[in-house]
Amino acid sequence: MQNQQNIQNNKATKKNVIDVSGLFKEYQTAAGPFPVLKDVNLRIDNGDYVAIMGPSGSGKSTFMNILGCLDKPTKGKYILDGHAVATMEENDVAGVRNKTIGFVFQGFNLLSRSSLLDNVALPLVYSHIDKAERHARAKVLLEKVGLGNHINSRPNQISGGQQQRVAIARALINNPRLILADEPTGNLDSVTSEEIMALFSQLNKEGITIVLVTHETDIAEHAKRQVRFLDGKIVQDTLTNGHVSTNNESSEVI
């Protein structure tokens, strides 16, 4: 109930972290342009927790990459935290990836040559923070994700679930407003997946907006809202049972 009240309070200062409208994406292939996203519209509120579902090849990763400013749409509007990404300078987009968004990948994407501490601290290098503070902050986060005893290990010395925790710690290091996770449990067994999902739920309770992609319905149950992609379009947008809508339009999309 505490949680719901927080969300209700947010409604008073309501603001969309993500506002996507008329979004198209086509890849250039040898066989000509290949449309993947076809008129996607989505608003996500500050503090929301959204699971994106849908069959393989329906365009979920493509959409997440655009949300994460790793890729650009062919057409359409993407307003992130009040700023139109399309009009930003390349350097500012890098700044957004660095500070506003924390991206968590299915394959962890850690630097294998660096220690866990350096991996987690790496985003701070690009925000010009000195070494002592970088390491102090990285240490705090590694402790938070339960890896305080492994700060000097290499990624290949720990399990997949632990590597994903490191990746989450890295995503959190610059206090982002938004965590984007593309199938974060896709490479993990079900027990480890539950632990990772518990971590996401905790982060959401702390006020971070979370958007994650998953195949599995039980994973999606952790989210407050579930959006379903099919063939490059959003075909369903529902609240998970027991959650109160924070988005006026969410039910209209269906």
Partner: protein
């Protein structure tokens, strides 16, 4: 930020040590070659310059015999067509600062049980002035010694060392030259080697008349092998050369168009062209060595291209967490620069060490100037930047999502 990047560049270098070492080797060889070649070249240049300044300035030598005779120098001087009167006549010309008639030969020198075969120069006191040749002990002979053909001599350092040793002071001693006794008046300053490598200190100087009458008596009376002429200044050299040719042609009754029986040589011009040759050699050596620097640079570029390809995924990860294009550019550029600078430092060490060894084993003069080290260093650093830039830019221009997808 910068120190973090330096640290990462250092790590990346250490990640594949053999490869880094081999890449560096190109740079090491290039830089050490440049440093070594410049040390040898500059040393040669300096010793040529020293020989030139030892020779005296604005000098002509007039030689007996026709000009441009092929073959050895001695052939030109053999026919004694010049004499003391020619020298005196040249002395009357405008722009002449000094004239010294010279006759020469080889003789056996004896002191006690020691003997030595050396060059004897018979000349006038002005010879020492023209060649700015001082005495380290004693005094020179005078015009009155010329008039009365006294048996006195000035002795060069090499001769003195060989017949007197270190302990005996030669001044005032009597030596025998071709069996005749000569009193040593003075000891000549050390002059070192000529441009063609002869030891100028292996010499004895005696009055011209003494040499003509008492040592090399088989020649025509008054004849000399050569006349050394010093001009007043550099700018009158060509005028003086012309007037000397005119004067001697007239005195020797040589008709227009006929071959002269003497030749006038501008020693200063010959010396300057030798210096020029030495400088050109030095530059050429440096240039050849620089080619190996270039090859080293290409090696760096090659390995950086491989490295960018191998680390495409890493670049994608860095971009995904907020690295700007210029951060990636800087990272790879720093790596290239670091490889070339570390290689360069090692190369400077080897080059300097090699130059010192060459100096020890060949006795050749070696000059390691801070200038040449600085040049090698800055060229190597710029090669790092130049050849590192393209791969680094390639890395920076990668699209983050394509880089992340790279297997």
């Amino acid at each position: 930020m910068f120190s973090a990047m330096l640290g990462e560049a250092w790590h990346a270098m250490g990640a594949n040590r053999l490869r880094t070492f081999l890449t560096m080797l190109g740079m090491v060889i290039g830089v050490s070659a440049v440093v070594l070649m410049m040390a040898i070249g500059q040393g040669a240049e300096a010793s040529v310059k020293r020989s030139i300044s030892a020779m005296g300035s604005n000098l002509f030598v007039v030689l007996s015999g026709p000009p441009r005779v092929a073959g050895a120098r001695s052939a030109t001087g053999n026919a004694p067509s010049l004499n003391v009167k020619d020298a005196n006549a040249i002395g009357e010309l405008d722009d002449v600062a000094g004239v010294a008639p010279v006759t020469m030969g080889k003789s056996q020198i004896v002191y006690g049980s020691n003997n030595w075969n050396t060059d004897i120069i018979g000349t006038t006191p002005s010879y020492l002035d023209i060649r700015s040749w001082g005495l380290s002990a004693g005094y020179a002979f005078s015009d009155s010694d010329i008039r009365s053909a006294t048996r006195v001599a000035l002795i060069g350092k090499t001769v003195a060392q060989n017949i007197f040793g270190e302990d005996i002071d030669p001044v005032g001693k009597t030596i025998r030259i071709n069996q005749s006794p000569f009193v040593i008046l003075g000891m000549l300053d050390s002059k070192g080697q000529t441009l063609d490598g002869r030891d100028q200190d292996d010499t004895i100087i005696v009055p011209l008349t003494t040499a003509q009458r008492k040592l090399f008596g088989n020649q025509l009376p008054g004849s000399v092998r050569q006349i050394l002429v010093q001009a007043e200044s550099d700018n009158v050299m060509s005028i003086l050369e012309e007037s000397m040719n005119g004067l001697l042609n007239q005195r020797h009754n040589i008709r227009e168009g006929a071959d002269s029986d003497f030749s006038v040589r501008n020693l200063t011009a010959i010396a300057n062209s030798a210096a020029e040759t030495a400088r050109t050699m030095s530059l050429l050596l440096g240039a050849i060595a620089s080619v190996s620097l270039l090859v080293g640079g290409i090696g760096i570029m090659n390995i950086m291209l491989v490295s960018v390809t191998e680390r495409t995924r890493e670049i994608g990860i860095r971009m995904a967490i907020g690295a700007r294009q210029r951060d990636i550019l800087l990272q790879f550029l720093l790596e290239a620069i670091m490889i070339s600078i570390v290689g360069c430092l090692i190369g400077i060490g080897i080059g300097v060490g090699g130059a010192v060894l060459v100096g020890i084993f060949t006795q050749a003069e070696i000059i390691i100037s801070s200038e040449s080290v600085l040049i090698a260093f800055s060229v190597a650093a710029s090669i790092g930047v130049f050849f590192g830039f393209y791969p680094a830019r390639m890395a920076a221009m990668l699209n983050p999502i394509e880089a992340l997808r790279y297997q």
